[in-house]
Every structure is written in structure tokens, then in C-alpha cells.
Amino acid sequence: MSSKRHRRDVIVETRSLSMHFGGVRAVDQVDFTLFDKELRCLIGPNGAGKSTFFKCLTGQLHPTAGNVLIQRQDTTGAEPHEIAGLGVGIKTQVPNVFDGLSVDENIWLSARRWHKPKRARALTAETIERLRLGDIRRETVGRLAHGQRQWVELGMVVAADPWLVLLDEPAAGMTHEETARTAELIREINTEAALIVVEHDMQFIRMISSQVTLFHEGRILMEDTMEAISNDKRAREVYLGHRA
């Protein structure tokens, strides 16, 4: 599949995507494009609609109007397992892991979905090493610290060997070192896959140094590098102004 794609191919596209909750327009006519192997961050103040937009991409929400296209296939209103079936790895905002199962079993369930038993076992071992989860591989995930659970979830995303990765606040609640390690991991994933990362942490976005899409009141306000956005007056007013 990947051999057919080229760097400037559009792999994710939304056409006037809207999501309304009653009278609230959480996402309002958003046109968005992502190229292959691109790393894109979605930022914006609370309630800007970035998480809702994210959930429309992953099938957790079915949009009110407009279309989502992943690799030119219309996935509007598809179920999450169908989106995942296209080879998309998804990490949600609140860690969604199998709390009662071991780290090993968590990763294996992901690897085994798309691979034969032997390859799945190899991928599981590979992923555990890559994420440095070896010491805790037999532990029950529910007993782990928050940052470790986030990594287990990242491990599940990586183990499926996706070509598109969608991450909702991967660094939330992490210590500084953990955040740095996560940024490193994201750059690593980006060598093989495109990513969309929803994030609050400016420091973190600077670490992964990507193209940024700024959401405001359900619409895209601007799309540029982090530097350009930090220097933009409008952007500072709606978002960065709160912190500067």
C-alpha cells in the first residue's frame, strides 16, 4: 500500500466538516488537508473544537455535515474499527488501555489484529523494546503510573504498524523527561507515518517542530509553523495571549 503513495499525496482531507451539538457549532465548516509523511499539530484554546474534529476523523463522532476522506476514501460516519482497518493508529485523550491485562497482552492484541501469530509475537517484542517497556511487560496496566499507561497506549498504536497516526494529547500529565521521550518517539514514528497530534503543551510542539493548525471557535484560524504563529498578533490574542 505504502509504495503507491508519494510525499505530496493528500492522505487526509475534510470538506466543510461540521459537528453541531444542539445549537453549539463545535466544528464549523472545516477544510483541512494532510499530506503523506506530514507531522501536523492541532492547537487552540479550550473549546476551539480540535478534540471534536479529532473524534470526527476517528469515527468516535459522526459529523453533522461535510465529508472526511482518508486516502480518497469517504469515511464520513464510519465506525472506529473501520477507520482503524484502513491502517490508522489512534490514541485518545484519556488513556484507553486494557486496564486488567498485562502490558504484553495489550500490545499483542494490537499486533495480532493485522498480523499472523508469529509476526504478531515478533512485533510485540519489538514494540516493547522500542518503548522501553521491558521491565514492566508482565505488570497489569491498571497498576502503572499515568505516563507509563500513556506509553502502553502509544505502544499499541505503534505495534499495528500504521501509516497514519492520530494522537490526542499524547503528553498530557507527563513529567518533563517523559514528554521529551514522547517527542522523540513521535519524530521516530514520523519517519514512516504521517501524524496528526492534538496538543496543548507549547513546549512539546516546539520539541517536535511541526506544521501547526490553529483552531478557534470551531474554525481553522491559521496554518503555519510554530514560530510564525507565536509571532502572529491574532493568534496571540485568541490563544497564546492567555499564557504570555
Partner: protein, 350 residues
């Protein structure tokens, strides 16, 4: 997972199955015939408990009406056996009817994304509908083929016979062998099922349905699958039950029995297969023993036991015992490691 891993994981299952086999071949020599006949009923109920242990403990689906499939199996067996004049195909019909009904009900429930609580309510309601419906079938006009439904008096169940030989009925002690063998086979089957990819995905869905879907598993299909399989197992229990008792009445569908099944699994422990089986035998004999005296009310004692377990042993029998053993073994293992390490360092120093 390769074959060796599966065998290693299934070792406890084989141990319990072996204990079951030994019991199966010694019990008829040690116990009286009356006890053996009684045991057959208990075994049938244990199969029912096993089916709920699978769907609730591993699939995470709280089916409050597991007795519906149990009773449906018993009724389907009885009616089919009367019409066919033999039990061989009737057993198959019983399993098929219960599974097909579960598949149909499950399709609407799971694909309609009915939430967990409502699933319990719906399955219980369906059970009670069967109860009211079949109770009202007294009268000569209610027949299915040659079988008279008999309303609240139920139907006399034809006994099991040798395969394809409707003339040679099995005696009660033989029915005991069949029942015990069926329980052991069902238990080993369930024990194997939960080590397969399918079974492990079901456990994953129990733990976090959204995550399973985000990994690309269609949770609705897996839930439907385990729901249907467990209904088939419950039907096997139903077939054994009406053979043990000799008849089937609409009372199998009542609220008391629906709740009792849940109690067996709670007492035995969710997430295990052997626990609910042991709990069923234990509670069955406790109720029989209590039936012989009039000092305490039977249900009062059952209620107290349930409250005791919910409050003080919330994990249930089997997981609590397992925890206790691993806690006792762990310090010893750690001590052994320390000793070995000490020996190694001692050797290098020397």
C-alpha cells in the same frame, strides 16, 4: 500464541478436568443411586453456571437471562425428542434453537448498541416473557407436533438413548456419566476458547470496548459470537437438566432461577470458569441440606451468603483462593532468589 503456550496456559484447566474424570468414575461406586440422580441435576446447573461464567466473566456481558437459553434448550430437546422418537438429533436441535435465538436477540442488542445495564434488563425480560407465555399453554390445543405443551405442569422429557438407537434408553447412572462428561468437555472447551485470539479479544473488549474498536476489532461481532456460544452451552445444560429431573416446566424461566445463576457466578468468582462450577455444586448441596430442616428459611440463608460474598469476598471464591496462594508462594520464591544470588556472589568471592 503457539501450541506449547496454549498447553501451558491450559494446565490448570486440565488439572481440574482430571479431577472431574476421577470423580466421574468413582462416584457411582461410592455414592447411592439417589445421590447420583441428584448430582446429575447439579451437574446440569453447573453447565449453566459455566455458560454465564464465560459470557459474563470473560465477555463482560451481564446476561441476566441465561436461564432463557437453558430452558429453551430443555424445551427444544423435549419437544424434538418426542417428535423424532429419539434423543440423538434432539440434542442438536436444542443447541441450535438456543444459539439461533441468542444470535437473533444478540444481533438487535449489540448492533443496536444497547448499553450494559439495559442488556441485563432485556435478557431478564425475555426470560420472564417465556415464563408467562409457556405457563399459559395448558390445554389440548397447545401442541408442537406430537408434544403437548402442558402449561405450568410442563412436559415429561424422554430420557437420553444411545446414539441412533431410540430403543435403548440410558439408566440414571449412565445419564450421570453423560452429564459429567458433557460438563468436563464444556469446561475444557471454554478453557481453550479463552486462550484463543477470539477469546483474548473478548477479554479485551470487556476491559475497554473503545480501545478494542480503535485497534480495529468490531466489538459487536465478538460480543455476538461469545453470547451465541454461551447460549449453546446453556442449552446443553438444559438438556441434561430435563434428563436429570425427568420433566421440564416453565418454572425454569422464573425470576428465582434467573437470579440464582447470577449468584453462582458472583460466589464462584467472575473471570474464572472453575469457580462458578464449584459454587453451583456447593450451593446446590447447601439448599438440599437446608430443605431437610425447618429451622431456617432457605432463601434467607442464600441471601445472607450472597451479602457475605458481595461485601467480604467481592472477587468470589476462586480468585480469592488463587490470590491467597500466590501471596503465600511469592515470598518463598523471592527468598529462593536471594539465596541463589547469595550463593553466586559467595562463589565469586571464594
Amino acid at each position: 500464541m503457539n501450541g506449547r503456550d496454549t498447553l501451558r496456559k491450559m494446565r490448570p484447566v486440565f488439572v481440574f478436568a482430571l479431577i472431574g474424570v476421577i470423580f466421574m468414575f468413582t462416584a457411582p461406586y461410592v455414592l447411592q443411586l439417589f445421590t447420583i440422580i441428584n448430582l446429575t441435576t447439579a451437574i446440569a446447573l453447573a453447565v449453566l453456571a459455566l455458560s454465564l461464567a464465560l459470557v459474563w466473566g470473560f465477555g463482560g456481558i451481564l446476561c441476566f437471562g441465561q436461564v432463557a437459553f437453558f430452558g429453551l434448550g430443555a424445551y427444544a430437546y423435549t419437544i424434538a425428542a418426542i417428535n423424532f422418537g429419539g434423543s440423538t438429533w434432539a440434542i442438536l436441535v436444542a443447541i441450535m434453537v438456543a444459539s439461533a435465538f441468542a444470535a437473533l436477540l444478540g444481533y438487535f442488542v449489540f448492533f443496536g448498541r444497547v448499553s450494559d445495564v439495559y442488556l441485563g434488563v432485556i435478557t431478564l425480560t425475555v426470560t420472564l416473557i417465556f415464563f408467562s407465555l409457556i405457563r399459559r399453554t395448558s390445554g389440548p390445543e397447545y401442541t408442537i407436533g406430537k408434544a403437548l405443551m402442558g402449561g405450568f405442569n410442563g412436559i415429561t422429557s424422554p430420557p437420553l438413548n444411545l446414539p441412533w438407537d431410540a430403543g435403548s434408553f440410558l439408566f440414571p447412572e449412565h445419564v450421570f456419566y453423560v452429564a459429567m462428561a458433557a460438563l468436563i468437555l464444556c469446561y475444557v472447551f471454554c478453557g481453550w476458547l479463552v486462550t484463543t485470539h477470539f477469546g483474548r479479544v473478548c477479554v479485551g473488549i470487556r476491559e475497554n470496548e473503545l480501545r478494542a474498536e480503535l485497534l480495529g476489532y468490531d466489538s459487536r461481532l465478538y460480543k455476538l459470537g461469545i453470547f451465541t456460544i454461551s447460549a449453546g452451552i446453556a442449552a446443553i445444560g438444559g438438556v441434561l437438566f430435563c434428563n436429570g429431573v425427568g420433566r421440564i416446566t416453565p418454572d425454569v424461566f422464573n425470576l428465582y432461577n434467573a437470579a440464582l445463576t447470577i449468584i453462582w457466578v458472583i460466589v464462584g468468582g467472575r473471570g474464572t470458569l472453575i469457580g462458578p462450577i464449584v459454587a453451583t455444586f456447593g450451593l446446590f448441596y447447601l439448599t438440599s441440606a437446608l430443605g431437610g430442616q425447618s429451622l431456617f428459611n432457605n432463601n434467607l440463608v442464600l441471601g445472607i451468603i450472597l451479602i457475605f460474598f458481595v461485601l467480604l469476598v467481592p472477587k468470589g471464591l476462586a480468585p480469592t483462593v488463587t490470590d491467597w496462594f500466590t501471596r503465600r508462594r511469592k515470598p518463598r520464591r523471592a527468598a529462593g532468589r536471594r539465596r541463589r544470588a547469595a550463593r553466586r556472589t559467595g562463589a565469586t568471592e571464594a
